[in-house]
């Protein structure tokens, strides 16, 4: 699925399905685990799966023929993750996440947005050239 263009970069173009999202998350985990250990790999894999799942469910509304682009670049000890899609403009950072004191309501959703915000050192959204572009540093 993914392409490791050189030892410090990873590129993948995936279809808009939850199975493909799970596969790319596992590949990202493996790519980073080999270079920086399991803890950072877990964080990156989780960010990728949460963001791409939102795109599949709410951006493309489960239309499997659409595409998502995932890029990872290593910069010394940190990584830049870029996730792009061509669905309607959707900035996940504008959405409210869960209230951590109301765990009984977690099943209704909102955990993903909380995790995306919490696990990123830096996160930026923009919409340009017909694409949602989410850039994350971990």
């Amino acid at each position: 699925m993914g392409n490791m263009t050189n030892t410090e970069s990873y590129r993948a173009t995936i279809s808009s399905t939850l199975d493909a999202v799970d596969d790319v998350s596992a590949e990202v985990y493996s790519f980073i685990a080999k270079r920086s250990g399991n803890e950072l790999a877990f964080r990156a894999g989780l960010l990728v799966i949460e963001i791409c799942t939102n795109i599949v469910k709410y951006g493309y509304e489960k239309s499997p023929d659409e595409k998502i682009w995932v890029s990872i670049d290593k910069n010394n000890s940190s990584y830049t993750i870029l996730i792009e899609d061509e669905s309607k403009p959707f900035n996940p950072l504008e959405y409210e996440h869960i209230d951590l004191d109301k765990t009984d309501k977690f099943e209704r959703g909102g955990m993903g947005i909380f995790l995306i915000k919490s696990l990123s050192k830096d996160i930026n959204y923009n919409y340009s050239e017909g694409k949602n572009k989410l850039t994350i540093t971990i």
């Binding site: 939850l18 199975d19 999202v21 799970d22 998350s25 596992a26 985990y29 399991n38 803890e39 877990f42 894999g45 989780l46 799966i49 949460e50 799942t53 869960i98 951590l100 004191d101 765990t103 009984d104 977690f106 099943e107 959703g109 955990m111 993903g112 909380f114 995790l115 919490s118």
Partner: protein, 113 residues
């Protein structure tokens, strides 16, 4: 993929023989599998999590769903053997306040019931 093994003292262990990622499809399978289990005579269910190598929000939601189902019928549920990364995510979500997380092996927990 999942097993419910009944033990002494009204306890049972939920486990998997293989390592797995508790994400989308597997989360749905776990919830469906759990609905078919008979827990009538049980008091304590230990979810042996040592083989969960990765978890996402859907996986966490499936554990919450199972936890609610078990505790609403007056039984207790414990999570054992959580890997550090999985435990850290549950703690980040303050789910350590909801779940009982025990680092011991299920057999050791049952011995002390």
């Amino acid at each position: 993929m999942f097993y419910l093994e009944k033990r002494d003292k009204g306890a049972a262990i939920i486990s998997s023989e293989e390592e797995f990622r508790l994400t989308g499809k597997i989360s749905a399978e776990l919830k469906e599998w759990f609905k078919k289990q008979r827990l009538d005579s049980l008091e304590t269910i230990i979810f042996d999590c040592q083989n969960i190598i990765f978890i996402d929000s859907m996986g966490i939601a499936s554990i919450i769903s199972i936890y609610k189902s078990i505790t609403s019928s007056g039984k207790q549920m414990l999570l054992s053997g959580l890997r550090k990364e999985v435990k850290d995510i549950l703690t980040l979500l303050k789910l350590d306040k909801l779940f009982v997380m025990d680092d011991r092996k299920p057999e050791e927990i049952i011995k002390d019931l």
